[in-house]
Amino acid sequence: MANASAGKVRAVFGQADAQKQSRTNFSIKRQTGFGVIALFCFFLLYLPIATLVVYSFNAGPSIAIWEGFSWRWYVAAWNNNQIVEASTRSFIIASFAAIVSTIAATMAALATTRTRPYRGLNFIYGFINQPLMVPEIVTGIALLIFFAMVKIWTGYTGLAYLIIAHTAFCIPFAYLPIRARLENMDLTLERAAADLYATPWMAFRRVTLPLLWPGIIAGLMLAFVVSLDDVVITELVKSGGQDTLPTYMLGQLRRVVTPEINAISSVFLLISIVIVTLFFFLNRKRT
């Protein structure tokens, strides 16, 4: 925008200005050293990740000394029962949490967009975003205390506690893209449907939902990644023998670390990157 209008001004005032610009090569946007710092920053962001991935292919048992290329540690991780179990558990929890939180978030987004402000609207916003405000460790110990009481009352110690906990903190992440999508949709098509005697439910199924779908998928993916990544709350809420992949890794980091951990991390990274890339392109199409 600013660029375009500056260009226009230059066009109006003729060539002289442009020539002067190119001669002195003075860019108003430049700040000395910023480019170098920025590129250094990107380098630092990717250096540790690159190191991690490279050493996952190490033939030797060390994460410091390179002894040649091998898939050895990927095979070892694949054959490690604890890792397979923890990964399966992670995926079960993340799937349930992502689906339930996305459904709840979609409903909440429909309830809070495209409306005149009503009493309690800000309250709902605040409530839904609350898990983003409170430090994870506090939510974690709060759930630890609460679920400890519930476990005594009910005697149930299964995965449901972890699923509920994950669902709660996934809701704001699922809610944001869905709400953004809804706010950009116009109401005309739904009004047209209503004019053509569609019941509210039919209008929703046939018009709103298909238009909203990319937002819902984006929300689902974010929720899935966030649930898959969680360490702190899971570590505090889990009962014995309920390790997810991240809490298993946290436990392993205390011992001597072999490239096996690098291998799991690399696979994990790949999954996150694939999902985030999909999310990125889904969001890009919209604009």
Partner: protein
């Protein structure tokens, strides 16, 4: 049934009001699953924490239902076992101080690196910006533990930094970075940097470069333009980014645990300790409420400043 004109009018108003009320009720109903889940598994339990901070610890973890203010006393003070004198709890104070100090340092460092990076992205051609932003977002969405572990591989004694420095002959023996406060700070900086860059970029993207141009026309040099034009205009982004880095740093648990080792604890680790080996749930609860309170103060400062700077803009 006699129907007067006025009463039918008011009836129409009543029907409209009724429809309105029904619509709002429908909206609350739609929002209720999300609200109930969050109430049940996020907000509700916080009140239990508050309650537990005023109870007595049981011997093996858990609590006894006997009201007591002792946990709150323990947050800052301790009583000598022998002569009953009250002194400050040095261990707690030093952990509290380390948490605040490291969080502040992390925020400042993140700003020092994040500001030029966000500016760099914002001044790229429009099509390239998405790609650069994407490169910032990717590490952000990958697992926190994995990123912390990746940092560990770089800074450990046999890691890249030390290996390269030794090969270059700059040092003869590795510098001990792991298990120090510096390690924790570097880790948090690495992990939370995207949280600084993203809001900064959001406000720089809207920056009107005609104002920058005007600054140069008025004989300002680059630094003056930066300080007097750009920084004041992107102040909301600076504040938002700083808050977004400061708050999770203050409550960090994974990074200090992995990079700081057992000795260099932060508030998050101290809290967890009370529910593990410490077996003092009320103290853990009181410390959690303390952490929440500091976070709330930071958020209030943010709201106040953010509101203040948007008012200035209109004025």
């Amino acid at each position: 049934m006699p129907v007067a004109a006025s009463s039918s009018l008011s009836r129409a108003a009543l029907v409209a009001a009724e429809a309105d009320r029904r619509e709002i009720r429908g909206r609350w109903l739609l929002a209720s699953p999300a609200l109930l889940i969050i109430l049940f598994a996020a907000i509700g339990p916080l009140f239990i924490v508050l309650l537990f901070s005023f109870l007595t610890p049981a011997d093996y973890g858990g609590i006894v239902w006997k009201p007591s203010g002792h946990a709150w006393f323990q947050v800052l003070f301790q009583k000598d076992i022998f002569d009953d004198t009250t002194t400050f709890a040095d261990a707690h104070l030093s952990i509290l101080w380390r948490s605040v100090k490291l969080s502040l340092l992390t925020t400042i460092m993140a700003l020092a690196f994040g500001f030029p990076t966000a500016y760099f992205i914002a001044t790229r051609p429009e099509k390239m910006r998405d790609i650069w932003l994407f490169l910032i977002t990717i590490p952000f969405w990958t697992n926190l533990l994995i990123r912390t572990f990746a940092v560990q591989e770089v800074i450990r004694n046999e890691g890249i930094i030390n290996t390269v420095l030794i090969k270059l002959g700059l040092i003869s023996s590795p510098i001990q970075i792991m298990f120090t406060d510096v390690a924790i700070m570097l880790g948090m900086l690495y992990v939370y940097l995207p949280l600084m860059v993203l809001p900064l970029y959001a406000s720089m993207e809207k920056l009107d470069f005609r104002l920058v141009e005007a600054g140069y026309d008025l004989y300002a040099n680059r630094f003056q333009v930066l300080r007097r034009v750009i920084v004041p205009l992107v102040k909301p982004g600076i504040i938002a980014g700083s808050i977004l880095v400061f708050i999770p740093s203050l409550g960090a648990y994974v990074t200090p645990r992995v990079l700081g080792g057992g000795k260099n604890m932060m508030l998050g680790n101290l809290i967890e300790l009370q529910f593990g080996q410490g077996r003092n749930w009320p103290l853990g609860a009181a410390l959690s409420i303390t952490l929440m309170a500091i976070v709330m103060v930071a958020l209030m400062v943010y709201v106040r400043y953010a509101a203040g700077s948007s008012e200035n803009r209109h004025g």
